[in-house]
Symmetry: C2
Subunit: 221 residues, 2 copies
């Protein structure tokens, strides 16, 4: 359960602010590993490629941190940021899609390190079902609702082709999942209160292609 | 070389417009495969989870397409969009980082299908150097400048840890690379005229964690 302070603020916190909080946290954790005790908003800004005023503004949304002239206590601010980002706990994640991208995600150590635990893997392909991935059985996506409930899944990762994504997303939302990380190249429609984040590498490359084409120049002519 | 029309417009075209163009293209290509000859802005909007007015506005930035009451010619609009997005050609891409994410990206068929050809792979790890990935030799990242020039690389994919990303990015930019797809969890600083797109799966999950935490509810209490 959340206190009202943060809940009330949530609506006016932009995606780019949240992204910067993630950056600040990484910088603070690196500093902590390096034995740094305090950090100024200027240093934090420099490493996050932003301004000190932006750092102070972002952090002020969540309370009063740091002391004028002394900077922020690295360890304490990192703890606060983990708390704000909901990283002071672990999250139960289901991966739908056991193909190339899915298996790379499953193997990616960065997820577990941050508390995102893949507790279920599902795929529509009978050749993949029944395999065991480091103790996690690959299940039939037909069993989605059952698996999500049984495993108390909070976040679903969709690593499946676009045509299947809308159906799986709707079914996950219907059993109460509130967070979806979508790798399918399509815009999911979800009800209010459900958060979707899209990762689409081909579309990012297309955006680069667009930028380079519009600029009309490539280094080798 | 680009004509002035599109070049002049490039500055006021937002990232979200470009993203929608990518969606429209996918929808049109699916429709074409399904034998559909024309499509209305309403149908396109419905499948792209946007409004017909938005579709018309996005497309009008690039010229006059479609006929009132008749809709858009699917095949022709797909060709136009590929042209606008710079997908009517292929792009020479270097992958820096031959780890888990890097190898999944290399194996991902979606890149080549869209004309993004990985012509070089580099890694700092001597154990990875010298291996051959489907005809592409994994080279020492120390040779970056030489490889980028020799292979006439236009886009660099960074699938390396954050501490190394700034240096590799600066070196790539110094030899004239204008497009970077960055998987490292850090904000790259690049000069004007260089386009960077970030893909960070852990940070997307953190943003979901933030949203779920702020909402203060998960399905299983």
């Amino acid at each position: 359960m959340e206190g009202p302070r943060v809940g009330v603020l949530a609506r006016r916190i932009s995606e780019s602010t949240v992204r910067r909080l993630s950056f600040y946290l990484r910088i603070l954790e690196e500093a902590e590993l390096g034995g740094v005790g305090t950090i100024s908003s200027e240093e934090l800004a420099e490493r996050a490629a932003t301004t000190a005023a932006q750092v102070r503004k972002d952090l002020s949304l969540f309370g009063s941190f740091g002391k004028r002239g002394l900077g922020y206590a690295v360890r304490q601010l990192a703890t606060e940021l983990r708390d704000i980002l909901g990283l002071d706990r672990s999250w139960r994640v289901a991966l739908v899609g056991a193909g190339r991208i899915g298996s790379a995600l499953f193997e990616y150590p960065g997820f577990r390190r941050r508390g995102f635990e893949i507790v279920a893997v599902l795929d529509a392909d009978p050749n993949k079902q029944g395999k065991c991935w480091r103790g996690v059985l690959v299940r039939d996506v037909a069993e989605l609702e059952h698996v999500l409930r049984a495993e108390r899944v909070e976040i679903v990762i969709l690593a499946i082709p676009a045509p299947a994504a809308a159906d799986v997303s709707a079914r996950a939302v219907a059993v109460g999942v509130k967070g979806i990380l979508n790798f399918a190249p399509m815009q999911l429609r979800v009800p209010a209160g459900v958060a979707v984040k899209d990762v689409n590498m081909v579309m990012e490359l297309e955006a680069l292609s667009f930028a380079l084409t519009q600029a009309g120049r490539t280094p080798w002519g």
